[in-house]
């Protein structure tokens, strides 16, 4: 039986869709081929450019006089040059960096970097910020300060590095102030970028160390500011005096603050305040206390650590056992005797576990 077909307009719509699809497929394939052709043309040029300029940059960094020998840099090659130059800057230390900076100034890279500060691509902006720092261009300071204070977090950290590169002593106060106000910072990035300036940052950081008076009594937000300071200090691997940290421990009950403080404890000073938190209700604090006591390594704390090996939390037992075994003058046999005296099966198991771990990697 023949059923009449639907009106032709519906079919024409589908046919139109089909032809459009086919056209789009062909256009995409054409795009693929054009892309490939463009790469085929540009890649040898890029490779030649890299080879030519890598050699120049290396010779420059080594101190060779390149006057009159510099290849011509086309305007469309400037950004590629800057990336290559930045690569060299980050790979080198010492006077080679200054020579490279002089070369880049000669090639007028400042104007390119300043233009890229306004790029809509964040990665380009970040590279431009770093480049301006390595160029040691005083004229770029206002723009970098703007990035430090108004840019997003990553830009601010990069701007901090750039400003310190230009004149560390002049900008360190502003850098520290800004970093202390940026919440949810990527401290790993801070650590990588700012470690070369640890010395100068440490002085300013220590001068601006938050008060250790009871934080509840301080201005609102004092605990958060102190926490940020402690985390920044850790990212920069600062040596903070134990008595100052001890005062924090004595005057705070904020768990994050206690953990951040405990992580910085190194010497014997402030140990009493640390010990006061050995029975803290939060196991993370107890685990950090055990670890810190291990770093400090006082024989007097052995009994407390032995008690912590019987803790209900696995991590506390683990850290306390590790700490006990790392105390100078306390032999494995003595630790074993102490822990066996506790009669705690979990503590004894943990001891065997940690001893095996130490023996395996001795």
């Amino acid at each position: 039986m023949h059923v009449p077909h639907a009106p032709e307009f519906s079919l024409s719509v589908v046919l139109w869709l089909a032809w459009t699809t086919l056209a789009l497929v062909l256009m995409t394939v054409l795009g693929l081929l054009l892309l490939r052709w463009w790469r085929w043309r540009s890649e040898p040029q890029k490779a030649a450019f890299r080879q030519r300029w890598s050699e120049v940059l290396m010779r420059c960094a080594l101190g060779e006089d390149l006057k009159g020998q510099l290849p011509h840099l086309k305007s469309k090659e400037r950004w590629a040059f800057m990336k290559l130059w930045l690569h060299c800057q980050l790979s080198l230390k010492g006077p080679g960096r200054d020579r490279l900076a002089a070369l880049a100034r000669l090639m007028e890279c400042q104007s390119m970097a300043m233009r890229k500060l306004g790029s809509r691509h964040a990665a380009e902006r970040l590279m431009a910020i770093l480049a301006l720092g390595f160029l040691k261009d005083e004229q770029a300071v206002p723009a970098l300060l703007e990035q430090l204070h108004q840019g997003e977090k990553q830009a601010a950290v990069h701007a901090a590095r750039a400003l310190l590169e230009i004149d560390a002593s002049a900008h360190v106060d502003q850098v520290v102030q800004r970093l202390l106000t940026l919440t949810d910072l990527d401290f790993s990035l801070v650590s990588v970028l700012l470690k070369p300036f640890r010395g100068v940052l440490a002085r300013t950081m220590m001068e601006g160390m938050p008060p250790s008076a009871p934080l509840q009594a301080c201005a609102p937000g004092a605990a958060a500011a102190a926490l940020q300071w402690l985390r920044l200090a850790r990212a920069l691997s600062l040596q903070v005096p134990g008595e100052r940290l001890g005062a924090f421990l004595a005057n705070s009950d904020d768990i994050d603050l206690l953990i951040a403080t405990t992580r910085l404890m190194q010497g014997e000073q402030g140990t009493q305040a640390l010990i006061a938190h050995a029975q803290h209700q939060d196991w993370r604090v107890r685990a950090q206390v055990a670890q810190a006591l291990g770093r400090i390594g006082r024989l007097d704390d052995a009994e407390l650590l032995a008690r912590l090996t019987t803790d209900a939390q696995w991590w506390v037992r683990y850290r306390a056992t590790q700490a006990l075994l790392s105390i100078p003058g306390l032999s494995v046999q003595k630790v074993q005797t102490r822990i066996e005296c506790t009669g705690d099966r979990y503590a004894i198991n943990m001891l065997h576990s940690v001893i095996s771990e130490r023996e395996a990697f001795a």
Binding site: L17, T21, L22, L35, D186
Partner: protein, 465 residues
């Protein structure tokens, strides 16, 4: 008239599914371009920070005696600050454990094992005196999910990365997938791009040269992986609605996974089920969270090269999808559902779960309607052009995205081969795949048993002597 209406419904279905794919392609293209600029930045020589979060790499292994040594050696050479590798031998019936003991000089180790998620009994824990980062857990057989849970229990670090025992990781893969955790404190999971290693030169678990396979089954899968990872997941990730992180490579915040109860055992799609459960529970509890996809190719895996193995894999995947969706209907259209509940989950149900049924019915119906003269020849041809043509368009768009971003297959010969595959896969392979997925649905509905499945391996996975 009825025939025309049904045909139109079929056309509308195909248009809808491809419109969503095109939308995802646009989202992915934007994300890829952004990512490419960041890659230039990340290539700058900067020292690693010790503040990168340490990672436990978990490798569940069941009957992997031929590949496990190469995999572990490759993992031990990953470039990352602090990480450990935990191999979980899931009661293998072959010599997986003994080759590990022999090769790495493992010694029994009286570890104080901490049970946070219940698992099958642990028979022993081993450490290698030569490789401080390596530990091996020997346990009774309980499946992949159970092994991962045992690995979580044994892990020391706050992030863990589940890796398949037959995967090859790029050296900097951990750095790449860990970066989002540094940028966003509320990040709970990240997934990386998986590519097919067939055709590549694999020596001792390392990838020496990238090329396309000559085996047609593997070639089709290369195209599928390109599509699925380049615009499928990347598109969903840009709206925080990615419902799958491949079990072959995914990084998770351990505490979040423990809080939601760990991997669910007795399920096949444990990787997807976990991610859907995280979405479901985090949204229910109103907790801020992010799940992100890292588009860089970080993990290479060998895909099946024969019809039977591929069929079994697809049946398993469809069962896994069914189980995951079925366990979390509460997420769909829930008040707190957001993009995952209101868009991604319904999409999964309509186009991934029921898709194969509608697709097969579409072909059958149109063929029948044309042969019975219910629709015109032109309507039949137009339907095929729309359904297949849009599929080809998406596949070719996948190739274009790949060329715009990572250029893993840069030679003209490879591009032509990929374009040909993009066309050919729509003419038979896609339909066959849809049929296998229907079988998977049937098996899920009838609750037939299923296990890990076996993989016939062709690559050279032997560790270098």
């Amino acid at each position: 008239m009825m025939a025309q209406t049904v045909t139109w419904l079929m056309v509308a279905y195909f248009l809808a599914i491809h419109a969503i794919y095109l939308m995802l392609t646009v989202l992915a293209a934007r994300a890829l371009l952004r990512n490419q600029r960041y890659r230039e930045m990340e290539e700058l020589p900067m020292a690693y920070s010790l503040l990168m979060p340490p990672i436990s790499v978990l490798v569940p292994a069941y009957n992997e005696e031929t590949t496990i040594v190469a995999t572990v050696e490759s993992l031990l050479q990953l470039s990352y600050g602090e990480f450990e590798v935990i191999v979980v031998n899931d009661g293998s019936k072959d010599a997986t454990l003994s080759v590990l003991i022999e090769q790495f000089g493992l010694l029994p180790y009286p570890e104080a094992y901490r049970v946070q998620i219940p698992t099958q009994e642990i028979m022993g824990i081993y450490r290698s005196p030569r490789h401080a980062k390596l530990r091996v857990i020997d346990k009774r057989n309980g499946g992949k999910a159970d092994s991962l849970n045992a690995g979580i229990n044994a892990s020391r670090y706050p992030l863990f990365c589940g890796v398949d025992a037959d995967s090859i990781l790029e050296r900097d893969s951990l750095q790449k997938v860990a970066k989002p955790f540094l940028r966003h404190p509320d990040m709970v999971a990240t997934g990386g791009t998986i590519r097919a290693a067939n055709g590549c030169d694999v020596r001792g678990g390392d990838l020496h040269r990238i090329d396309l396979p000559s085996n047609p089954w593997a070639l089709f899968q290369v195209m599928e992986y390109l599509r699925a990872f380049l615009f499928g997941r990347l598109g969903w990730s840009s709206v925080n609605a990615m419902l799958i992180i491949s079990g072959a490579f995914g990084l998770f915040r351990k505490q979040t996974v423990i809080d939601v109860g760990g991997y669910r055992t007795h399920t096949i799609g444990e990787d997807m089920e976990l991610v859907v459960r995280i979405h479901h529970q985090m949204r229910e509890q109103g907790l801020p969270y992010r799940i992100e996809f890292v588009p860089d190719p970080v993990c290479w895996t060998e895909v099946p090269e024969d019809r039977q193995t591929l069929r079994n894999q697809r049946i398993r995947w469809q069962r896994g999808l069914s189980e995951s969706l079925n366990a979390h209907w509460g997420l769909m259209f829930s008040r707190s559902g957001g993009w995952p509940g209101w868009v991604a989950f319904p999409y999964m149900v309509l186009f991934e779960w029921l898709g194969p049924v509608v697709e097969c019915l579409g072909y059958l119906w149109t063929a029948y309607a044309w042969s019975a003269d219910l629709i015109s020849w032109a309507a039949f041809a137009a339907f095929l052009l729309v359904s297949l043509g849009l599929g080809i368009l998406l596949s070719v768009a996948g190739v274009l995205l790949e060329q715009l971003s990572f250029q893993m297959y840069p030679q003209v010969r490879q591009i032509f081969k990929l374009v040909l595959v993009a066309v050919a896969e729509n003419l038979g392979y896609r339909q066959l795949n849809a049929w296998w997925r229907i079988v998977g649905l049937y098996r899920w509905a009838t609750q037939k048993e299923a296990g890990w499945g076996t993989m016939k391996r062709k690559g050279n996975w032997q560790a270098p002597q």
